[in-house]
Amino acid sequence: MTLKEIVDKLGATVGLGADKLDREEEYCFASDLMSDVLTLKDTPVLVTGLCNVQTIRTCDMANLEVVIFVRGKRPTEDMVELADENDMILICTPYSMFKTCGILYGAGMKPLY
């Protein structure tokens, strides 16, 4: 699924990387626990309600490049700056974690485990 389709399905806005929405993604992982993200061997789209600079740092360490923030959370300027340095894409949806995951799963995004 392209990021453009994800953005449309989630009624989302793009916080960073609006020029990269043609990118295809297949796998998704949802967590507010960054320790869990650091155990991943793959590099899925991350769905999270944790919106702070450690979310971006963790993604940098784990080589994750696409983050969907749920429940209307918006990244701060510091987060966007750090994410930009790492060529990341930040997407913001007003939907809850549960609804976001349900929509993405129903649309064919795959789980890692």
Binding site: T55, T58, M61
Partner: protein, 137 residues
């Protein structure tokens, strides 16, 4: 190549700066990306621990042609029972650490999984030193 970084107690905004810098260096040296990920995940976990649990400390990194050696030495309360701390799920993290997405008792075990050699020494009331090594090949 020798690099040193200072970590400051409670400075979550800068947690990961040392790991991020090491990542850039290893990428420039064309180290296998999967190995780079193992190194930086382990180092980042250790860095977060020093910031979250101790009163700050140092990250000392030595990069050779075939391996990286990392030491994260903190001044802090120390770990009374290292074997217990190594158990997945055991945590003494404060609520503010959990608010940052950490503190689930996964750090030390995850560090162990990502490195080739790891040694933890600790003295209660003095501090903890984590020494890790990852081979590039």
């Amino acid at each position: 190549m020798h690099q040193e970084y200072t970590v400051i107690e409670g400075d979550f905004v800068n947690a990961g700066k040392a790991s991020s810098s090491v990542k850039k260096t290893l990428k420039q040296l064309n180290v296998n990306p999967q190995v780079v990920k193992r190194v930086v995940v382990a180092l980042y976990e250790a860095e977060v621990n020093a910031i979250a649990h101790a009163y700050g400390g140092k990250v000392i990194v030595d990069i050779d042609a075939d391996k990286i050696h990392m030491v994260v030495a903190d001044k802090g309360p120390g770990i009374p029972d290292i074997a217990l701390a190594m158990q997945e799920g055991y945590s003494t993290a404060r609520p503010e650490v959990r608010d940052m997405g950490f503190g689930a008792g996964m750090g030390l075990p995850n560090m162990q999984k990502n490195v080739d050699k790891m040694n933890v020494t600790s003295e209660v009331g003095v501090g903890t030193t984590v020494e890790m090594e990852v081979n590039f090949n």
